[in-house]
């Protein structure tokens, strides 16, 4: 432990010295390629560069005649640093995994911060996967089996515990990189269904939505509307208020939504209906899902598994408060339909090659992931992360559109590669 007296002295000295004389930093924009490289590196990783990596990036930029492509290449060099994955990505993704949207979740002391949701996003970024897959695919990233043994001793992945990731985050390893010799990937891609202990088949998985962390945060109690709302918020950058449209038909609004809150149906017409008319028919895709708090894992009603209260596969939570409006919609299965394909929310840019309706979480999540809003949202979030601010003017907005267009194009892989978005944003804000 630190000697208290010495500690006191040093702190006093610090206060005396003040930081007034040491306030500038390379964070300020500068036209030299070395300073630009430093800023790109710092924004992508959250830490200052070493001289060695800075030399490399400077060289890349200069040899590329300071072209945008050269900066992008330099950014890719920066993203090899572990802190791009361990810090920047973790801190960007963690707020998506809890209702408080906290970067330090309330249960982080007991549960840790890293979880299967964030790890899956990190893996998808590392491998330049089509980022849309994180919402609907049978995808999961877990620690390499070789990390489950000494000296690492990471507990095996469990669908009912976060111990696996809690231990993993304490290791000094690059979540987006390798470890050991010969080098092995820290995170490996597996079938999510294979890790759920038989709870889900591949067709019943939906990317981060059906990860344990996703379920724990948004399928717990309530009506599962939290899952839909926060997926919209985190991945389409639209909260319910922004997609409110009272002109949609209310025919799929469930019974629990009062049509006359406090005895005043004007509130329903002007407020409730605007969100629920679109949200409820989408949220019905999750009708068979619930998070079992006691078991600590997602609970899915498989084919033939009937809920004792509903007599169907539909979870009881979809039938609560049924007498609030008894002639409202009674969810009978996991069919969903996207009423927002018309009206003001058509502007969210739905993929016309999809049907706009279906059954189950996977197809509904794909509907969201294939929207223009999803692509825009990922770019805006990365822009905020890298540039430390939201787009503010027409130049920024034009750049957002430009990056979205590039995001969709194949670069290192088949397109929708989030690393490229980071690189482009860092290049813009260098």
């Amino acid at each position: 432990m630190v000697n208290a007296n010495r500690y006191h002295t040093v702190i006093r000295a610090l206060l005396l010295a003040g930081f007034a004389g040491i306030t500038t930093s390379y964070a300020l924009a500068d036209a030299t390629s070395r300073a630009q490289a430093a800023r790109i590196y710092d924004r992508l990783t959250g830490v200052p560069p070493t001289a060695a990596v800075l030399n490399t990036m400077e060289s890349i930029i200069d040899s590329g005649s300071k072209s945008d492509a050269a900066y992008v290449d330099a950014a890719y060099e920066a993203m090899k640093n572990k802190n791009f994955y361990n810090v920047t990505l973790v801190n960007m993704v963690t707020p998506w995994t809890n209702e408080e949207q906290a970067v330090i979740p309330l249960d982080s002391e007991t549960e840790g911060t890293l979880n299967d949701y964030t790890a899956t996003v990190i893996g998808a970024v590392r491998d330049d996967l089509d980022f849309r897959r994180i919402l609907f695919d049978d995808i999961l990233y877990v620690a390499n089996d070789d990390l489950l043994v000494a000296p690492y001793n990471v507990p095996a992945y469990s669908y009912s515990s976060n111990a696996h990731y809690k231990t993993l985050e304490t290791l000094d390893v690059n979540l987006g990189g390798t470890f050991g010799s010969p080098a092995k990937d820290v995170l490996v891609s597996v079938s999510q269904a294979s890790k759920t202990g038989g709870e889900l088949t591949p067709a019943e998985t939906a990317g981060v939505i059906t990860t344990r962390a996703g379920a724990k945060a948004f399928f717990t109690m309530g009506t599962n509307r939290a899952m839909f709302r926060f997926t919209m918020l985190n991945h389409l950058c639209n909260d319910m208020e922004q997609v409110k449209d009272v002109t949609r038909t209310p025919d799929r609004i469930q019974q629990d939504v009062s049509r006359s809150p406090g005895g005043d149906s004007r509130i329903f017409f002007n407020a409730c209906l605007g969100c629920h008319s679109g949200m409820d028919p989408m949220n019905q895709a999750f009708a068979y899902y619930n998070y079992d708090d006691a078991a600590g894992k997602l609970d899915f009603n498989a084919s033939g598994e009937l809920d004792p209260d509903t007599g169907t596969r539909v979870k009881k939570k979809y039938r609560i408060n049924e007498y609030n409006f008894v002639t409202g919609y009674k969810t009978v299965d996991d069919s969903w339909i996207n009423y927002w394909r018309n009206g003001p929310n058509k502007l969210l840019g739905w993929d016309q090659s999809l049907q706009g309706s279906g059954n189950g979480a996977k197809s509904m999540a794909q509907e969201l992931a294939y929207s223009e809003a999803f692509a825009q949202c990922q770019v805006k979030k990365v822009f905020q992360t890298v540039c430390l601010r939201a787009p503010v003017d027409s130049s920024d907005r034009a750049k957002i559109n430009d990056i979205v267009a590039k995001f969709k194009q194949p670069f290192k892989a088949s397109g929708y590669e989030l690393k490229r978005v980071f690189a482009e944003a860092a290049t813009y804000c260098k």
Binding site: T249, P250, S260
Partner: protein
């Protein structure tokens, strides 16, 4: 105003006069001070019981007639002052012989049965009273409903038999046409009707009046007044507006040519000339109506014939279990300040309304800041009849306004906040049931109370059916929407022996707790649609039955579609109820054919929409996804219900339109939404920020080479995590962040310097070669701007700030940060010697002096042992911390 009493006075003789004398004394109590009050007070008293001394009933049916009808209506303040032997025909309450009265009741007058047991509502006794004949209360409908209830009780033995609705084709089929709707803004109202209301009605119907009485259509704010006035205005027929009729129905001529006020209600006439005042009001409403442009119906729509709710076939809903009913309030009058007990159990416990409340068009009272109360004397039957059985049920259809209010009475039988027989209360999401029983079990306030489980959130701010039952053997139970909430009485049951007969009965407040000017202290906010008290604990099945029966009136609307398809007598049947003051509920559209042996075939139907007043409703279209083929009679097109905003109420013109019906179709094409305009540019924002907690931690780890998972570091970081910045913006950066960062920086520098390998890599490597950590301060650092001091600063500068391509190369340091010389000045350069007290807060950095020399002062103070190697380490840690915890590493 010509009231029922006036009419009685004209028609009957002296028997009434004594009654009238006593009643007139009450009139002033209820009059409002805003104008000349011409309202007579209703006769709220119980029937004056007449002892029967005639022949015994000849049959069981006569006996049933006597019990259910004769006993209730033979009193002299009911029908018994006229329809008796020697009086007016039919003499159905003659007191000399109930058997003759029975015959009269079964007679036909002008083709109509006096009592029609098959259709009680069609009985002459009912229709006559409903049309204004001798009602003993202020509301003809209440009297008619009461008599109808007596007849139904006679006919059924109990009132539990459900009636089958017989659908009848509308007699007149009307085409939807141009229709007027209320304008959305109040400007037209403000220039026409509002001035009249302000001038003549604000004495009562304003929220700022000392005699305030809802509805507040004379508020000074035109928007508020307009909102409350709409229900009193008939824009299609201004003369039928309530505002006019309450003064005088100008369609009805005076019965006395010499007194034009006759046949007028004259409610608070301001001039004393009822007809003149009614004409003033009529002119104002006509001007308002004439200013509204009718909505033209789109001729391309495929539409049904028109229906109004008032054209519908009324269904009273399902049958309620009321065998042990002792009090019932249905709130049907929609106006006035009395809520009538329509249980037909005398004496009636009518409730006087106080404070702020609104009548609901859907039947009910909305308590805003008010109460409905019966005195202890009027409520005494509750005490007597419940104590006689030792058990009871409180039943109510309620709509709590919110789930935030606590400890508020919905229903209470009490004298104050600490003394009660029973209460139904709300506390947030919970219903609470207070019941006083034996003092050893439940205290005088009915506590401990039974509450629904807060986790269940049984109480919702929406229409709910709530029943609370109590009986010996079961104790208290609470049922919400027909379901037992499963909450168990916290105490054993006891007898009701301690009940007081001196308590008042109140809805929406606490007895004695409110003041006329401020009821907020105890006011419950919400609506009651029905309240019933039973002197038996209802069984779960009975509760379910009453829940299934629903509340309010249901109408069957038959929208004719025969003109659209080749099948005559075709209709779309809709069940319609007024949902609240702002909407109608439409349910279960069903194809109905009223013809005989119809041949229906296959009729495609798709995209059903509800039209109102010339256009399709903008919100609430719950049937646009209907897509089916009609092949049979009574085919349900959708099980769903939906609500549609009402505009005028029962006179709204409704119609149905179809995307496809038979061979007719209308193509609906929804236009693309307009591209939103580019948002305005935001204010300039900083393009730099601070590092957040993990970034700070990893930055320090990266710069010092100390692993972040070093045990001491992890412990320190975890304890400081919440104190470090969590957002990049400078706006949220506070001094606590600064302290946290410096503490963490010190921990890293401490680990760096105390670890021989780490410090050797950092300071001892070429070209710095500072390895004097085992020497005292003066030996290790020398004097002046020594090589050793420069080595330490160079290492810190190269690794943390300048990051040159090669060590100590000033040419390749980052151009945007401080220079090596500046850091040298801050940390060690003797040229920057401290001036004055080195521990004083410096006013500028130039007179603070370099850190090294200021630390040397600590040697003389004795807080640092400069004569030991530890002093050397501490000096390096201090310089390291000054750099690592500075803005150089904090700013990103």
């Amino acid at each position: 105003m010509s009231t029922a009493l006036d009419k009685m006075k004209n028609n009957c003789s002296s028997a009434w006069k004594a009654v009238l004398v006593s009643l007139f004394a009450l009139v002033s109590v209820y009059g409002c001070g805003g104008g000349e009050s011409t309202s007579s007070n209703p006769n709220l008293g119980a029937p004056i019981v007449v002892g029967y001394t005639g022949p015994a009933p000849a049959t069981a049916d006569v006996q049933a007639f006597k019990i259910n009808v004769w006993d209730n209506l033979s009193a002299t303040n009911r029908c018994g002052s006229c329809h008796v032997a020697g009086g007016q025909s039919p003499q159905f309450v003659r007191q000399d012989d109930v058997n003759l009265a029975y015959s009269a009741a079964n007679s036909v007058v002008n083709g109509q049965l006096v009592i029609n047991l098959a259709a009680p509502d069609q009985s002459l006794m009912v229709t006559k009273v409903r049309n204004g004949h001798q009602c003993w209360l202020a509301d003809n409908n209440i009297c008619a409903d009461t008599i109808q209830g007596y007849i139904e009780a006679w006919g059924n033995g109990t009132s539990t038999t459900s009636k089958e609705i017989v659908l009848e084709a509308p007699t007149v089929l009307r085409d939807p046409g141009a229709s007027k709707s209320f304008p959305t803004d109040s400007s037209l109202f403000a220039s026409t009707i509002h001035p009249v209301l302000l001038a003549h009605c604000a004495g009562c119907h304003s929220e700022t009046s000392t005699n305030k009485q809802s509805p507040f259509f004379a508020n000074s704010d035109p928007d508020s007044a307009y909102n409350n006035a709409k229900q009193k205005i008939n824009i299609d027929s201004p003369g039928d507006s309530r505002f006019v009729v309450r003064l005088c129905d100008l369609n009805v001529p005076p019965s006395d040519p010499l007194d034009t006020n006759t046949n007028c209600q004259g409610h608070n006439s301001w001039s004393g000339d009822f007809r003149a005042d009614a004409n003033v009001m009529l002119t104002a409403i006509q001007n308002f109506a004439n200013g509204i442009t009718p909505t033209q119906i789109d001729p391309s729509l495929v539409i049904s014939k028109l229906m109004r709710v008032e054209d519908g076939i009324v269904s009273a809903g399902g049958a309620r279990h009321e065998a042990n009913l002792i009090a019932l309030w249905e709130f049907k009058t929609k106006q006035g300040n009395i809520a009538y007990d329509t249980s037909n159990i005398e004496p009636a416990t009518h409730l006087n309304l106080f404070g702020e409340y609104n009548w609901l068009g859907s039947y009910g009272i909305q308590f805003i800041n008010g109460a409905a109360q019966a005195s202890a004397a009027d409520a005494r039957k509750l005490h007597d009849l419940i104590k006689s059985t030792g058990e009871y049920s409180i039943e109510a259809w309620v709509v709590p306004e919110n789930v935030a209010q606590s400890d508020r009475n919905i229903i209470s039988y009490s004298s104050n906040a600490t003394s009660r027989n029973f209460a139904m209360k709300q506390t947030q999401y919970n219903y609470e049931f207070y019941n006083r029983s034996e003092s050893s079990i439940n205290l005088g306030n009915g506590t401990p109370f039974l509450t629904t489980d807060p986790n269940d959130e049984d109480l919702q701010a929406t229409l709910q059916h709530v029943v609370m039952t109590y009986k010996v053997g079961e104790g208290r139970k609470i049922y919400v929407n027909g379901q037992d909430t499963g909450d168990t009485d916290p105490v054993a049951y006891g007898l009701l022996t301690d009940w007081s007969n001196n308590y008042a009965f109140i809805l929406g407040n606490e007895v004695g707790s409110y003041r006329a000017d401020d009821m907020n202290n105890s006011a419950w906010k919400g609506s009651v649609r029905l309240v019933a008290i039973h002197n038996r604990a209802l069984t779960p099945a009975q509760i379910q039955q009453n829940f299934d029966a629903g509340v309010g009136e249901k109408y069957y609307l038959l929208f004719s579609i025969s003109h659209l398809i080749s099948v005559p007598d075709s209709y779309i049947l809709m069940e319609v109820t007024q949902f609240d003051n702002y909407s109608f509920q439409f349910s279960k559209p069903t194809y109905v054919n009223l013809g005989t042996n119809p041949t229906i075939g296959s009729i495609p139907v798709k995209g059903l929409r509800i039209g109102i007043n010339g256009k399709e409703a903008a919100v609430g279209q719950g049937y646009i996804n209907v897509d089916t083929t009609i092949t049979t009679n009574n085919q349900v097109l959708s099980d769903l219900g939906t609500i549609i905003p009402l505009e005028k109420g029962f006179t709204d013109d409704f119609f149905l339109s179809f995307e496809v019906l038979g061979s007719n179709s209308h193509v609906y094409v929804e236009a693309d939404p307009p591209t939103p305009a580019a948002p305005a540019d935001s204010e300039d924002v900083s393009d730099i920020g601070v590092r957040t907690f993990d970034e700070v931690n990893q930055t320090m780890s990266a710069l010092t080479g100390v692993p972040f998972n070093n045990t001491n570091i992890m412990n320190k970081f975890n304890s400081l995590k919440q104190q470090l910045p969590s957002k990049e913006t400078f706006i949220g950066f506070v001094s606590a962040h600064s302290i946290g960062i410096s503490q963490l920086a010190f921990e890293y520098c401490n680990e760096l310097v105390e670890d021989s390998t780490l410090r050797a890599n950092f300071f001892g490597a070429a070209p710095y070669n500072f390895n004097s950590f085992d020497q005292n301060v003066s030996t290790a650092f020398g004097t002046g701007l020594s090589t050793q001091k420069q080595a330490v600063v160079n290492a810190l500068y190269d690794r943390m700030i300048g990051i040159p391509a090669t060590a100590t190369d000033n040419a390749t340091v980052l151009s945007t940060t401080i220079t090596r010389a500046q850091l040298m000045t801050e940390l060690v350069d003797p040229a920057n010697a401290p001036a004055g007290d080195p521990f004083a807060i410096p006013s500028t950095s130039t007179n603070a002096g370099n850190l090294f020399d200021r630390l040397m002062r600590s040697c003389s103070e004795g807080s640092v042992s400069c004569t030991t190697a530890q002093g050397t380490k501490d000096f390096v840690k201090a310089m390291c911390t000054a750099v690592l915890g500075s803005a150089v590493t904090l700013v990103q």
